[in-house]
């Protein structure tokens, strides 16, 4: 029997990590990638991320916001506003758009 496979560290042993924590990391990575893909966005201040979210929820906005806020502390995204829009026409959790300072 093999044991002890290295898995990505989720969080400290004292707390349960809900999937919103992982989604916060995915969003962070997707935002970074989106900015890198468009040279005109590099260095601009990101003010808001707009999400589309299917109903019933598979992601809880309050929980997501908590983990995202923790994740971006000390980064340039620290004060980014998160806006969640419910949608009955999609299935899942989407980044709709990024709003930058003019």
């Amino acid at each position: 029997m093999k044991t002890g496979t290295t898995a990505p560290k989720a969080t400290s042993k004292s707390e349960m990590m809900v999937h919103e924590a992982k989604l916060a990391k995915y969003v962070f990575e997707l935002v970074e990638e989106s900015i890198k893909e468009d040279a005109t966005l590099v260095g601009r201040k990101l003010e808001k991320i707009i999400f589309d979210l299917s109903v019933p929820y598979t992601v809880y906005p309050d929980s997501f916001e908590f983990y995202f806020t923790e994740l971006v502390k000390g980064t340039s995204y620290e004060n980014v506003v998160l806006q969640f829009r419910e949608s009955s026409t999609i299935m899942g959790f989407f980044i709709n758009s990024l709003v930058f300072e003019d």
Partner: protein, 221 residues
Amino acid sequence: MEIKVLKNVMIKNSAIGNDNRERLLKHGVFAINITSSPGAGKTTLLENSLAELNKVHPCAVIEGDLYTSRDAIRLKDKCVPLVQINTEGGCHLDARMVSSALDNLDLEKIKLLIIENVGNLVCPSSFDLGENLRVLVYSITEGADKPMKYANMFKSAHVVLINKVDLAIACNVDIDSLEAEVKEVNQSCKVFRIAANRPESLIEWNEWLLDYVKKFRKGRD
């Protein structure tokens, strides 16, 4: 200035899940992802079916657990390769974890990979691990009203194993009503009734799975 992104957040996981599936397919490995609430009977199911499955298709197991190896220890006398993933508090497995686990398996030597997910009736539904078949073990001790309440889990399952049917009377659960609600949520899923601690109740499920894997392999060859 607003920039449209229109990206599904789960794409980060799904991309790796697809890579896992491709990698397994390349080696002719069929993968199932077993999900359930804690204590619904995933490990008991494996304890009492692994030997039969392994006779026909060489198996390996990836065991997901928050912190312990208790389930893996229960399976160690089954003589199949086993990799433990401890999520350190994470409430589900994700595709990255499974990708790391695959590095520790000789995929040339296995034909059926069984992934036992972390016990949770919510989060695993959203995370594709690269499996070919998702199996939900649902214990009737959880009551007859959960398919609607945890619809995403039931919707995402290809197979629902209604477990502990021998306790139906004690739990005051009408299995026919429960099965009807499962079908209401997910019309296309296959349903089996089992008592995982009684190997004789697993024959139909084992045979169905073995045949399904055989067809998968035939389609590939």
